[in-house]
Symmetry: C2
Subunit: 467 residues, 2 copies
């Protein structure tokens, strides 16, 4: 790979590739010593660790609609007030059709009897209390399941495997996650009694990866669970030995109706109400299996720690609003509730942190041309901590996507997802997975971003194509 | 990160995000047992290793316009003939203004005398034979160098540092490479006597990373070199201790005029001349410091090994043309010569392998709508070996970019670049950096791609936006 390749990597260039091709020198960006100082001080941050350590130790798992989630909101209010934020409050909303995990066990009955480890998927149906026993039908991928003839799975347990590779940009989750998202609906439509999938994860351990699935309207939920990667590979080997495999599966989750949830909101008030609010945050809820450290204790910690640094650096033009969203995992209802409640406010920007605690390696914005100088300054502010400029479409994430959809500009600070899917949605999502140095780099990236954006004189709006 | 995020990661989905949002099940792709069998057999390939081992052992470094490069062409012709390819021949062209590496040494004179390891950048100017001694002026980034006042570097050695982080998509090279690409021209315009940069690399060793630079028209080349990362960090620490730093620099490269180069071409003839040629390959040249194993012995090996597998599987609709391009490193003149020589031929596709030998993790195409079913089949064929579908703009790379610019469709089979820039353009680019298992996965990915594309009944053309 050579220099021409470099010029072609326009998605990653700090300066336009066209300038390289024409050998026109780019206009340099004036350095901002204040931004640099805030960024570098954040590399010694301890506030983010304090928050994520606190929420995992003092609360632990925070499933949506649960009493634990309620305690997490109260903890969050106290914590954000103690950090000095203004207007700290809960914005409550109701969650419909809340799903609660039950017992979950599985055993191979024949030909090689042994227990398997698995976890029900969110919104899974239940087996009878005593479980069900059925033959396994193996599919290498979701594509193969889609090709199965209608009715061919009647009375059987579909088993969909697909080996997920780690990717820095998390794109492996998109491809492989289809087995979790679509698999249960497809299997149910073809008559299956239940479905098990290989966990959507990149580890090789015994911790199964849960996560939500959704049954299409009119399709009755069937029992649906994810085997740990190790157990899925074991079951795959059994299937490939050629003898019929029979599984006994017990899942006893239930739907418990409507329960309260809520977003926790805190602010660093700005000086210019017309400049638009900067909404940042992560989500307070978590799956029950772990303690919600990387998903998403880290995200609430990083964004609040960065906002606190701006707060302590003096007054800024724009209000910085930290939102610890309630439901993210079961349908993104916290982000939807926020967007509805605040649709009439002027937002300059919305961004979230929800891919763990590993380093930010790339950023992208959806800024319109008038705000491109802001993006140029972001590139200069972020480069010294190893963050490259991307040209990717901005997605925001589940929490802020409904706000972006209102026509608000976004910034994605991409975290390395190379390790994230080893522990995501598993019992292994615990504090010790967080590298304190990388957590600090995240705080530095968010601090630098806020320092550039909060006082930018330019109007910040999204490019038409990004809306 | 949850399911909504999944649906939003549209760039990575095998099926359209819109289908997920609407809960419409995607149309499955019929499996192709022949493609799968070819792919899986390629996971045991030994031909690629034989080629890259051969070129690094029997030829070694192959700088552009050198006698070594000539010997590499002859070796290539013999190798491709022995592998059974048809129409094996050299397409010669001339390289103008060929640059030859000379002596290259540096020492800190004051205040902390010690030697530093560096390598001249391609097209660097020369110091006097006895070297030059001058004070160092430090710049953290290329942006800071651009901000230096005109004339402020007169009689001085500019030193540009920037810490490059590994990225799977190689985007760190684009951002940080600007110091190499633009730095020497900028420093020369501001009157500098010479420039040294931190190597554009992600390692922490003593092997400096060379690579080409280009001086803008009318700017006389100044001595320009890359310090190893370890030496650059040492020099940076010295500068930050506050005393003036003086460097003695000796670089004696020279321009040797016009020299012969050439592309080596081989074919697997197809049955339908109207279906368009599939051109694949890598580059035969390399920098002098290593042996050109990962850059790009691997690329010529992977593409030829895959083409040979198609050849042995019977007749195919489209001609597969393997091109081992001559000059890539000093200006992409091999790719330009190929595109000029073959501009009147109908190409269906052009693709190259030039990011080392680590696994293919993502693919993207520039296909127009009529060829989207081909892309769908590629997604299914590549998923089992861990390759996700991307929606990125296709760049091809230096070798095939001039061909793509003629209006030819492209496929990028993205290799993981996480380790590539540890050794790229250094003395450490040797055979032992190649993981045989990952090399085989590359052959499997290219074999699956060729198996899908070579016999596709659809017309393959690029989408208008991709041209």
């Amino acid at each position: 790979m050579s220099l021409f390749r470099l010029a072609l990597l326009s998605c990653a260039l700090t300066f336009p590739a066209a300038a390289l091709a024409q050998r026109v020198l780019p206009t340099p960006v004036a350095p901002d010593a204040k931004v640099a100082a805030l960024r570098d001080a954040a590399l010694k941050d301890d506030v983010a660790w304090d928050i994520v350590s606190g929420i995992t130790t003092e609360i632990g798992p925070r499933p949506d609609g649960s009493a634990q989630e309620g305690r997490a909101r109260d903890w969050a209010v106290a914590k954000l007030k103690s950090l000095g934020f203004k207007n700290v409050h809960i914005e409550p909303y109701d969650l419909q059709n809340v799903w609660e995990r039950g017992a979950e066990t599985a055993e191979v009955i024949t030909p090689y009897p042994q227990p398997l480890r698995l976890a029900a998927l969110g919104n899974s149906g239940a087996t009878p209390p005593e479980g069900l026993t059925a033959p396994v039908v193996y599919f290498e991928t979701i594509n193969d399941l889609l090709l199965a003839p209608d009715g061919s799975l009647a009375g059987k347990i579909a088993f969909v495997s697909n080996a997920m590779q780690p990717t820095q940009d998390g794109s492996g989750y998109g491809s492989n996650g289809l087995a979790r998202f679509l698999g249960p609906t497809v299997a149910a439509k073809k008559g299956a009694a239940a479905i098990v999938i290989r966990s959507i994860g990149t580890d090789h351990g015994r911790g199964p990866h849960t996560g939500v699935t959704n049954f299409a309207p009119g399709v009755a939920p069937i029992p649906a669970a994810a085997l740990s990667v190790a157990d899925a590979e074991n079951l795959e080997r059994m299937v490939k030995l050629g003898k019929p495999v029979t599984l006994h599966l017990t899942l006893t989750p239930k739907f418990v109706g409507t329960r309260p949830s809520g977003n926790v909101v805190a602010e660093v008030p700005g000086t210019d109400p017309k400049a638009g609010i900067i909404t940042i945050g992560g989500h307070l809820d978590s799956w029950e299996l772990g303690t919600g450290a990387i998903d998403d204790g880290a995200g609430i910690a990083i964004t609040a720690a960065a906002a606190k640094r701006l707060m302590e650096a003096g007054k800024h033009r724009r209000t910085i609003r930290v939102v610890w969203f309630g439901d993210e995992e079961t349908g993104g209802f916290g982000g939807i509730a926020y967007a509805k409640a605040h649709a009439n406010e002027r937002h300059a920007l919305a961004a979230e942190s929800d891919s763990g605690a590993d380093m930010v390696w790339k950023f992208s914005t959806s800024f319109a041309a008038a705000a491109k100088p802001v993006e140029d300054r972001l590139a200069v502010a972020l480069a010294p901590i190893g963050v490259v400029r991307g040209r990717d479409a901005v997605h925001g994430g589940t929490d802020v996507e409904p706000t972006l959809a209102l026509g608000v500009a976004g910034i994605d600070l991409h975290q390395s997802a190379l390790r994230y899917f080893d522990w995501h949605h598993t019992p292994e999502d615990t504090l010790d997975r967080i590298d304190p140095e990388q957590l600090r780099q995240n705080v530095a990236a968010w601090t630098a971003m806020l320092a550039v954006v909060a006082d930018a004189p330019e109007e910040i709006a999204p490019a038409p194509a990004a809306e």
